[in-house]
Amino acid sequence: MVYSCGPPARAGQFAGPGSYTARAMTSVSLVFDGVRRRFGRVRALEPASGRVAAGEALVVTGANGAGKSTLLRCLAGLLAPDGGTVEHVEEGAALTPPERRARIGFVAPDLAFYDELSAGENLEFFARLRGLPAARAGELLERVGLPVDRAAGALSSGMRQRLRWAWALLARPRALLLDEPFQNLDREGEDSVRGLLGEHLESGGLAIVASPIPLEVAGAVSHLTLGR
């Protein structure tokens, strides 16, 4: 893994109130090479390589069990790969694994929130953990069309997916890792999060999108197919 010796990329100035996604004018890139992982006797992920630059999306497809989710978890720093390198660069500095975890935005089907808390309380908790103003939670919930005071345990699966999106965008990440990002969403919900993804890419963010079926993403898109 490549580490830089310089100071870590720090969150700079927040963009204007109109921007819900990445800060403009900051460079970001994510390069992974030969990333592989096995779980005991099962090869969950064969060596995978790819490269995404600012403003680009990489769509990762593959059959069930091809290792899409495993790849995204390795890139997010939630899983240590058995081999290969991941280099996530922001503002010219390569991030260490803890910085990577703090800087990415992650949407995945097995990501859950606290059932006892409302959607708003959940996001406010995570905003506080990251040292962000609590108002950010309300802004994002409004943007994805979720009621603030509905208990997370009482959300439908589509609403949960919207909550995941709002959660992923809290800290205005420049790299989004999206595992089946549109699942369970209704038309309106999908339009709304596609809008967020479009803004994110336009403002110079990058995204890696995993899906078992081919997926249309607007803008500069490259493809990676996992499995044989």
Partner: protein, 228 residues
């Protein structure tokens, strides 16, 4: 941008507040620990009677039983602080948002306050039903606080380990008892001294040393437990 220290403290406080808010809405740990403690209290009291008037029992047996009640009460409720995060799939969201040592501090603060609340309920009841008179109440309270601190910190650290493995609850007891054994022996010795009217002796500095050791070990080792 807040300073790193104030951000760390704010994160730990956010975890503490979140855990109490969820706990007060579900009452799971409070009910489990409280009912466990009261049930064992009733059983031992029914079996032994008000045996505190017997000096040999009061000094040699009753302090040990009090700490066994507290140990099992802690084992009934404290593993949940991390096991529940894994089981409800909120752990990954927390991994991506929280500084590990601040998360650990917040969890310890929650476990400690929970255990002190239970001690405040159980200890006076125990003294009353056992007819146990204290020669030095100050030392008794000191033993409860210093012992409770080590019990909470050690249990939370072991809960973090056990939550990563299969058979979490059973494994917790197997892992925790050797770690907590010196603490229990010291706390029992101090409690016995408080009943007998003896000075605190070497057990007090040793108990404080244990508390300090477990705290430092926890803060140093927890990041490796929590993140790949």
């Amino acid at each position: 941008m807040p300073s790193p220290t104030s951000h760390w403290v704010a994160s730990a406080r956010a975890v503490f507040a979140k855990d109490w808010r969820c706990e007060l809405r579900s009452r799971y740990a409070l009910n489990a620990i409280g009912l466990f403690a009261v049930t064992t209290l009733v059983v031992t009291s029914a079996a032994l009677g008000p045996s505190g008037s017997n000096q040999a029992m009061a000094i040699n047996v009753l302090p040990a039983i009090l700490w066994l009640i507290l140990l099992f009460a802690a084992a009934a409720g404290l593993p949940r602080v991390f096991v529940h995060e894994e089981e409800s799939r909120t752990a990954n969201a927390l991994r991506l948002a929280a500084t590990p040592s601040a998360l650990f501090a917040g969890k310890v603060a929650f476990g400690l306050s929970l255990l002190l609340a239970i001690e405040a309920l159980v200890a006076p009841l125990y003294l009353a039903v056992m007819n146990l008179n204290l020669a030095s109440p100050g030392l008794f309270v000191g033993a409860l606080v210093a012992g409770g601190y080590g019990l909470a910190t050690g249990s939370v650290l072991i809960a973090a380990l056990a939550s990563q493995a299969r058979g979490r609850s059973t494994l917790f007891s197997v892992l925790a008892f050797p770690v907590l054994m010196p603490l229990l022996l010291l706390a029992i010795e101090l409690t016995r001294n408080s009943v007998a009217g003896d000075p605190a002796g070497p057990a007090l500095p040793q108990l404080l040393l244990y508390d300090g050791t477990v705290t430092i070990a926890g803060l140093m080792l927890f990041p490796a437990v929590w993140n790949p």
